[in-house]
Symmetry: C2
Subunit: 143 residues, 2 copies
Amino acid sequence: MNSEFSIAVHSLVLLANLPERMATSEMIADNVCTHPARIRKVMSTLRKHGIVATKEGIGGGYILDCDPETTHLALIYRAVCEGTLKPSWSSGDPETGCMVASNVQKVMDGLFHEAEEYLESYWQRWTIADVLREICALHQAKL
Amino acid sequence: MNSEFSIAVHSLVLLANLPERMATSEMIADNVCTHPARIRKVMSTLRKHGIVATKEGIGGGYILDCDPETTHLALIYRAVCEGTLKPSWSSGDPETGCMVASNVQKVMDGLFHEAEEYLESYWQRWTIADVLREICALHQAKL
DNA sequence: GAAACTGTAACTTATATAATTACAGTATGA
DNA sequence: TCATACTGTAATTATATAAGTTACAGTTTC
């Protein structure tokens, strides 16, 4: 998995914690520690899934377009990295005569697909607000 | 995740299906479609976890050292790619004053760790023999 | 119409993955 | 006992993926 999921969750938690729930790609990039263009790419995907809204022009930026208390990480996972659990390389070769070599790809693909669905049910346990609360708890513990 | 898990599962299923449950790295590599040295690397890890035994010298190779009916994919996952669910890149920066930026790494690390344990409970549902049976079923369906 | 934004593609660089080579170590059997 | 056929492992090279960067067109505001 690449780290777009972490970027998306971090950005959404950040927005949820801002008074106006709005920030520019530059502000988010500073906080996430990456390049604004990368933030815009991830945010663009989240916008297409209705999780954030964007406003172009002066005073524009990204604004949370969901309820952090009911938006689960599973939705974010699906938006941003569905299908990435399965490795790009596959073993075996469908063209050979060997039963194992010729059928293992399809079976493993099925397992990875099911494993990913299972994993999504873990992300379904967490909302954006939950993650923010975990962060707050850590923060409090330091004081 | 890299594809050593797929290679390990494929290799073990292949061994389980052989009369003597034994094969050389070259035979396995041919079947898996990769290089024998890569097979030796993965098999070496499986040997250290007691899943296969190896025999050096003439007539040597790898032999299954577990019961395929009771050896779950979770064991193979742990042996071969524990810790790879979490992306290597992390967002945020523990040194900043921002509550979110400075604590998000630890929280996300915890989530990825728990997610991986959850995922392992999926792999626990499958044994090597189960995978072989799935392959056989696909094979039968073609006839 | 200048300024401050997003959207997106193209390009570069860094890192991870896979393939390959090489060779030391080990068991077998003629 | 020596050639042979294996594993074990490290080093190197090649390739694919991820991340960073640049660039610029499009949009909104003032």
